[in-house]
């Protein structure tokens, strides 16, 4: 039982699985939770899991991004703190600022930290100052023709391919790989426009493209007492268009390299005066060279894999840190054991370029069993709205060995029964059978180099197919296929 000072009530400024995830940790600490929702999201599962719920507007999406409204309902509800989750306002420095101004605790880093680390250029400078290798890159490119000239000079010096990145980017948006001068010049325009649309700023910069790197990241926690602890590595190399599909903990690096990267992450965190949970991302080349990529100043989708291998509740730590408590364990107490793999079961059609597949979840039977964790946001009969992201449930499995984790994940995927919408399950089932994945041989090119994974047929339960015939016989009054 926690005897110390504790929040009585917090507001979760998010929806879906992450809202529920946060509520669970809060409720375990006996904190009441206020959910918010837009009218277009009134059937969302997170509402049912909260102690209170407040509709913040007609939606879609715009009310979840409305700082004023959210602060107002937080005040009205008597919440003392706000957890932003991920996405929406999570990395908008104006949000913690507004919280502070309203006398509310923001469960995350201070606004200046978010602002600094949100700028890729400043973040790179922080990394470089703490002797963390950074990928050769330009500073923010000048607008228009001068910017194009700077870009061409960089290309002359480092050669192709080159990555174009939005200075305020994240989540894969505004990132583009270009192979030649023509693509560079047209890509600059498109990335600027994408960046402006997504982040409100068209600033971009260039980065040398690494050869088949692995995406490795380090989960860190920092408290207001200057303690910084890392919770080990994650491997998020399996990405589609720079968006993570499968995440693994630990990353599977040699012990010395892993230690070096984790130590670098702690240095960068300290240098940034970080607070709360965050993630420092790196790219690792096959020869073990690693480069700083960025810092994500929020709880991440894939935090569950770290929780599974360390046993630490990261959201609980976030809440305690926000309350002014120190991190509840030391670095020495952090032990990674076994492997965890997480993937996102989305309402998408992988065969149709992963197009969202909104609709009614007619049947939902979830998988379960030893080592299987679900962070879900759907229920049977739920209509997945087309306005929000298509994630239905996050599946994380734990295995004492890599092979055990893969076997378990394969089994867990087979244990799902979802009818009514197309899902990413059959695509993941393909990956579970793929030899390179089974042998843990993957880098960021994995999806592009394994296009055959899309060649699958979706298996429907035999009994459900037969039920369709029963409905036909019932409707016609005879079996039209027996005549």
């Amino acid at each position: 039982m926690i005897e110390k000072l504790m929040f009585e009530k917090i507001l979760v400024a998010n929806r879906g699985e992450i809202a529920i995830r946060i509520m669970r940790s809060a409720q375990e600490l006996d904190i009441k939770v206020v959910a918010i929702y837009e009218e277009t999201d009134k059937d969302a599962y997170h509402i049912t899991q909260a102690d209170e719920a407040i509709c913040i507007g007609p939606g879609p999406r715009k009310d979840y991004l409305d700082i004023e409204k959210i602060i107002a309902v937080a005040e009205k509800s008597g919440a003392q703190a706000i957890h932003p989750g991920y996405g929406f306002l999570a990395e908008n420095p104006d949000f913690p600022e507004a919280c502070t101004n309203a006398g509310l605790v923001f469960i995350g880093p201070p606004p200046e930290v978010i602002r600094n680390l949100g700028s890729k250029v400043i973040a790179r400078r922080i990394a470089a100052e703490t002797e963390i290798p950074v990928i050769p890159a330009t500073s923010t490119l000048s607008p228009d023709a001068p910017g194009e000239k700077e870009a061409l000079e960089f290309a002359d010096e480092h050669g192709y391919p080159i990555m174009i990145k939005a200075v305020s980017g994240g989540g894969g948006r505004g990132i583009r790989r270009v192979e030649d001068e023509k693509a560079l010049l047209s890509g600059l325009k498109r990335s600027r426009s994408e960046a402006l649309m997504s982040f409100g700023s068209d600033e971009v910069y260039l980065e040398r493209c690494l050869y088949r790197p692995q995406h490795v990241e380090v989960q860190i926690l920092a408290d207001s007492f200057g303690n910084v602890v890392h919770l080990g590595t994650r491997n998020c190399s399996i990405q589609r268009r720079h968006q993570k599909l499968i995440e693994i903990a630990p990353a599977g690096l040699e012990a010395a390299l892993s230690e070096e990267i984790c130590s670098a992450a702690v240095r960068a965190t300290r240098a940034a005066d970080y607070l709360s949970a965050g993630t420092v991302e790196f790219l690792v080349e096959p020869d073990g060279s690693f480069y700083f990529l960025e810092v994500n100043t929020r709880i991440q989708v894939e935090h569950t894999v770290t929780e599974m291998v360390t046993g630490i509740d990261i959201v609980r730590e976030q809440l305690l840190i926000a309350l002014g408590e120190p991190i509840s364990f030391s670095q020495d107490e952090v032990v990674e054991r076994g492997y965890a793999i997480e993937l996102r079961i989305n309402a998408e059609d992988p065969k149709n370029d992963f197009l969202a597949s909104p609709g009614i979840v007619q049947v939902y039977q979830a998988s379960a069993g030893h080592g299987v964790r679900l962070d879900g946001a759907i229920y049977q009969g739920y209509e997945i709205p087309r306005y929000y992201d298509s994630m239905m449930v996050k599946l994380t499995v734990y295995g004492f060995t890599w092979q055990e984790a893969v076997d378990r994940l394969s089994r867990a995927l087979n244990g799902f029964l979802i009818i009514g919408v197309k899902t990413t399950i059959p695509y993941f089932q393909q990956i579970m059978q793929e030899p390179d994945f089974i042998q843990m041989r993957f880098d960021t090119s994995y999806i592009d180099t394994h296009p055959h994974l899309l060649e699958y047929s979706e298996e429907e339960r035999e009994v459900d197919k037969i039920a369709r015939l029963i409905a036909e016989i019932n409707a016609h009054g005879y079996n039209p296929y027996a005549r």
Binding site: V463, D464, R468, A475, Y481
Partner: protein, 553 residues
């Protein structure tokens, strides 16, 4: 059971046992019973329900595939013919599986190209242990590719001689025909006497068997007969006494008329003559019929319009296997009341066209000709198949050609070039082998229809019946293995009541249920709400016009 033959034995071992046995063996010809008496509608789950008892009953073999059954599997039963063989094998692991093949017409109605014949036999031979092969003209070359493939696959070859009556059908003819077959196949085969219409007296059949046995003393003989005239027990008694080693029979629970005579009646009769049915377990045999008597009620709508034995078959010679479809056609065509007239005409046509054997595809030619003759005037509307027959496309007629006036009417029908019938015969006559298709191209065609890779088995079904096989495979993709449903559900009329629960086991023995919760109609759509293995579904079906909805809703 001592002397019982089982599917694990080699061909040599099986033939050795048969040659050395003093008794006789029985084949349960469920396929022919289904075709002859139930319009081919006996469903696989009926076979499964009785399978353990049939297995225990000790049949030498069970004929479950071939003939028209493959087409009807695809067309009316929505079951994969290969799957039906696989599940029967699982349910009856010791009993040999028998298939009947219509020579170059395989399981269809016209001659197939040789490459199609070979690839089809190769695929079916993976499951079928015994191949009963015939040609309606007893033209041996039409059967050779099948003989070769069956023997190559290491299966038991059972070449047939079709039997009929009349002055041409002498012992000498049949003995020579069997010698001609043995020249091609060698001695390690079973020769079947295919008395497809149940013709001849017991005395005649006894004489024939004696003549064959005398001329070919090492030959193993099988007898396949229909019980249309009610006298096949007598013929089988005579046949076994004269040396036949295997007879095709039926379960007495089916009470087959146009199919085979009851096994138990034959066993009891032959016991009096000191002949033993090897391997047979009588209590198990009786249990089979106890089950089938109950099952039979499901198939009542498919039983023939004319029930009861018909000794006049001796003149019109309609094969038992064609009885169901002919009566059905007559009923649908509105001329069922003219059947006696049509049967008289069939007898005339039979003689006029050469007195060959009324079995597929010849039986269809005789039937269609007789019907058209009755309805439209004699040979006024000859079919294309009749024309092809007279042109010799199926092979030479065995005894004599039709009279000139018939040839003239048939060959000149709908010709506008003014050519005389003998000119047409001279130019177009003779057997023309159908051109071999490009099998890979056919596979691509099928794959385009299915949107998935096609297996060799899929391809073979498609080559046999292109439209119906593709439609079946599409059905299976959408509705699954619906043969798992109880037959009474498959044939359900009038829909389901709310609360009705349908239960069945899948092929792995796992039980499933589908409970109908409610039915409601919205315009042209019927919404059926179901609980399927604990999960709730609502399925909407668009119906044309008015449908019969359950009254309890």
């Amino acid at each position: 059971m001592q002397g019982r033959i089982n599917s694990k034995m080699s061909v040599d071992e099986i033939l050795g046992i048969l040659r050395g046995s003093g008794g006789y063996y029985l084949c349960n010809n469920e396929r022919d019973v289904s075709q002859s008496d139930f319009k081919n509608r006996l469903m696989p789950m009926t076979t499964m329900r009785v399978a353990p008892h049939r297995e225990e009953a000790g049949f030498f073999s069970i004929e479950v595939s071939g003939g028209a059954s493959i087409h009807v599997d695809l067309l009316r039963k929505q079951v994969n013919p290969f799957e039906r063989l696989r599940i029967t094998r699982r349910a009856m692991p010791n009993t040999l599986l028998q298939i009947v093949c219509r020579g170059a017409s395989l399981f269809g109605y016209r001659h197939y190209p040789e490459s199609v014949i070979r690839v089809t036999v190769q695929q079916f031979a993976k499951y079928a242990d015994i191949w009963r092969v015939y040609d309606f003209l007893n033209h041996v070359p039409n059967m050779i590719p099948i003989f070769e493939e069956v023997q190559q696959a290491g299966r038991i070859l059972m070449p047939s001689v079709c039997f009929s009556t009349g002055k041409e059908h002498t012992d000498a003819y049949y003995v020579e025909k069997i010698k001609e077959i043995l020249e091609v196949t060698g001695p390690d085969v079973i020769i079947s006497i295919k008395n497809h219409s149940g013709l001849g007296t017991p005395k005649r059949i006894g004489q024939l068997v004696e003549a064959i046995s005398a001329a070919c003393p090492d030959v193993i003989l099988h007898y396949h007969g229909c019980n249309t005239d009610g006298n096949d027990i007598g013929r089988m008694i005579a046949a076994v006494q004269a040396g036949v080693k295997i007879c095709d029979v039926a379960d007495h629970g089916y009470g087959a008329v146009y199919g085979q005579a009851p096994a138990l009646t034959l066993i009891q009769s032959l016991e009096d003559y000191g002949k033993k049915a090897v391997g047979m377990n009588i209590p198990a045999l009786v249990r089979c019929s106890d089950i089938l008597r109950r099952e039979r009620r499901i198939y009542e709508p498919f039983e023939n319009q004319f029930r009861g034995h018909d000794p006049t078959v001796a003149s019109y010679k309609l094969t038992g296997g064609a009885a169901g479809s002919t009566f059905e056609q007559a009923d649908t065509g509105g001329f069922l009341d003219r059947m006696p007239e049509i049967f008289e005409e069939m007898a005339r046509v039979q003689v006029e066209l050469g007195n060959w054997w009324s079995v597929t595809p010849g039986s269809q030619i005789l039937w269609t000709t007789a019907v058209n003759n009755v309805l439209f005037g004699r040979y006024e509307r000859p079919s294309l198949d009749l024309k092809n027959l007279i042109l010799g496309r199926y092979g030479p007629l065995p005894f004599y050609d039709p009279q000139e006036w018939i040839c003239k009417k048939v060959l000149a029908y709908q010709r506008s070039d003014g050519k005389k019938w003998h000119e047409i015969l001279a130019e177009d006559g003779g057997q023309v082998k159908p051109r071999d298709p490009d099998l890979e191209r056919e596979r691509e065609n099928l794959e385009a229809k299915l949107g998935r890779p096609a297996s060799d088995e899929d391809l073979v079904l498609y080559l046999q019946h292109p439209f119906d096989a593709a439609a079946f495979l599409q059905f299976e993709a959408q509705y699954g293995r619906t043969w798992l449903l109880p037959p009474e559900v498959w044939f359900r009329s009038g829909g389901f009541k709310s609360g009705e629960r349908i239960t069945f086991e899948d092929e792995h023995g796992k039980p499933h249920y589908i409970e109908v919760m409610s039915t409601r109609r919205e315009g042209g759509t019927v919404l059926t709400s179901l609980v399927v293995d604990h999960t709730f579904h609502t399925v909407s079906v668009t119906v044309k016009g008015s449908s019969v909805l359950p009254t309890s809703n």
